[in-house]
């Protein structure tokens, strides 16, 4: 199995923000099975509830900071089919959107958490989300409402190429 992570820490978000956006590559390439998501705030002493959402988005995609997936098995000679990109295009990933893009978002998983405790979503095998190669949408980890404190966010996800 080839698993990869994308994460970022100490991030200042703009408001209601796509934290990570991953867009599957064109077919025939591996599908992406998402195994884990997390969001936390590393330096905030104020208790507050915060919504979190997984969403799919069609073009136009968000404008992002490029993020290259990291191998969970460092000795794996193969890099991920997903590369870093700033435009959310097919086969790319990025973090901390500076613009959300005009493409419509579809919420596929809604939750809420306390920022002091963070949010960890580990789907059971039957619950994992698979984004097929060539799919018109990318998958976003999204804060649908602006957090009370915008600084020091940490977040990430793990996916497997299947």
């Amino acid at each position: 199995m080839r698993e990869f992570s994308i994460s970022a820490g100490g991030i200042t978000v703009a408001g209601a923000t796509t934290l990570i956006f991953v867009n599957p590559a064109s077919a025939p390439n591996p599908n992406l099975e998402f195994l884990r998501f997390w969001i936390g705030q590393s330096a905030n002493a104020t208790s507050a509830q915060q919504r979190a959402q997984l969403e799919t988005q069609v073009t136009a995609f968000p404008t992002l900071t490029s993020a290259t997936p990291t191998k969970l098995k460092p000795s794996d000679p193969n890099a991920s089919v997903i590369t870093g990109g700033t435009a959310g295009a097919a086969g790319t990933a990025g973090t901390n959107a500076s613009a959300e893009g005009a493409g419509s978002k579809t919420a596929v998983w809604d939750d809420a958490f306390n920022v002091l405790n963070g949010w960890l979503h580990v789907p059971t095998p039957a619950e994992t989300r698979v984004m097929p190669a060539g799919f018109a949408s990318g998958l976003g980890l999204f804060l649908p409402v602006a957090p009370a404190t915008l600084t020091n966010w940490a977040f990430g996800l793990v996916f497997r190429e299947v």
Binding site: E3, S5, S7, G9, G10, R36, W38, I39, G40, S42, A43, N44, A45, L72, D111, F113, N114, L116, N117, G118, W119, L120, H121, V122, T124, P125, A154, G156, V158
Partner: protein, 100 residues
């Protein structure tokens, strides 16, 4: 550059420092929570290694404790507890070294 409040609880998880003014509230459970801060300021979370029961490794301040668990639970006044197979439940030791 200003220093941190001396009373901050500062743990480490996911490769960075996690700062809290207070320990985690009672009955917070990972998952769905991401972080538990105990009275030492240590940050507990689940890692990405897993065993045959699909339990994840337990990290304390980003150091593997050698345990796998389905859940990590905190109640104020008590040590952090983990739940998993085949052991059932274990508590973090007073020596801050093991789950027993």
């Amino acid at each position: 550059m200003s220093g941190d409040d001396a009373h901050f609880l500062i743990g480490r998880a996911l490769g960075q420092a996690w700062k809290r003014e207070n320990v985690t509230e009672s009955y917070v459970v990972i998952p769905p929570a991401l972080i538990i801060t105990d009275s030492d300021g240590a940050a507990f979370t689940l890692g990405t290694e897993y065993d045959v029961h699909m339990q994840f490794n337990v990290l304390r301040n980003d150091v593997d404790t050698g345990e796998f668990a389905q859940r990590i639970e905190y109640r104020r006044g008590q040590p952090v507890r983990i739940y998993g197979r085949p052991y059932g439940v274990k508590s973090f030791s007073r020596s801050r070294r093991h789950f027993i």
